[in-house]
């Protein structure tokens, strides 16, 4: 996005408003590169955030926003929500065909390799004090791992992810 081009159109047309109960969507685009999970982070933000009109289907808002980047996801799924500041953030994970992910320098969405992190944990009646995007991604991958075994549509779409998602399965009886 560097160079003497024209100012690109905004990624979201919905401005912030105090009257929205749940006004923010977070999109975490993930893809496979050389057998490893990567995700796309905006160059100048922690994650891709979108306004959410009250009349719009959130999954449609997500796919339309990704289209602005030339991306057509093969799967979008709401995976978690959290309270942040004065808003509720609903997170969608979007699985991309690997070849669609931007690889060149200067793209507004930057590929990042995903590492493993501990989930954010709260108390029995209170949420975690802090939730990082990496932890939201960890939760999203664990969610996809479960869906790939439980949901036939997800299983079909993520056939080539089976090996990677196996590493995200819960291990309640792990030997110590």
């Amino acid at each position: 996005m560097t160079g003497g081009g024209k100012l690109p159109p905004p990624v979201s047309d919905t401005p912030w408003s105090a009257r929205f109960v749940m006004q923010s969507l977070e999109v975490l685009p993930v893809f496979l590169q050389d057998g490893r999970v990567c995700w796309l982070q905006p160059e100048h933000a922690g994650s891709l955030r979108l306004g959410w009109p009250t009349s719009a289907q959130p999954s449609q808002v997500v796919t339309e926003a990704l289209a602005a980047y030339g991306i057509v996801p093969r799967l979008v799924h709401s995976t978690s929500w959290r309270h942040e500041g004065q808003q509720v953030v609903l997170t969608y994970v979007a699985v991309l065909p690997g070849e669609q992910a931007p690889h060149g320098p200067g793209a507004p969405l930057v590929p990042r390799q995903l590492g493993r992190v501990e989930l954010a944990r709260g108390d029995a009646t209170t949420p975690p004090a802090r939730i990082d995007v990496d932890q939201v991604l960890e939760h999203a991958l664990r969610h996809l791992s479960w869906l790939a075994k439980d949901d036939p549509v997800v299983a079909e779409e993520l056939r080539d992810w089976a090996g990677v998602l196996g590493a995200y399965e819960p291990a309640p009886f792990r030997s110590l």
Partner: protein
């Protein structure tokens, strides 16, 4: 009335019209090497309700 602009790179600004114009022009120049006019910025700046 406040205005807001969200760039494709995730950068966001909110403020009066003049503040937004100045911030968007600076961001476009510094981060993307793009020169933008006031009219171009007006076209993408959305009104925001003040609290």
């Amino acid at each position: 009335m406040l205005r807001e602009v969200t760039c494709q790179c995730g950068w966001q600004c909110r403020g009066t019209l003049e503040e937004v114009v100045a911030q968007v022009q600076a961001h476009g120049r510094d981060a993307h090497g793009i020169e933008s006019t006031r009219e171009e910025i007006l076209a993408i700046a959305h009104p925001v309700e003040a609290t």
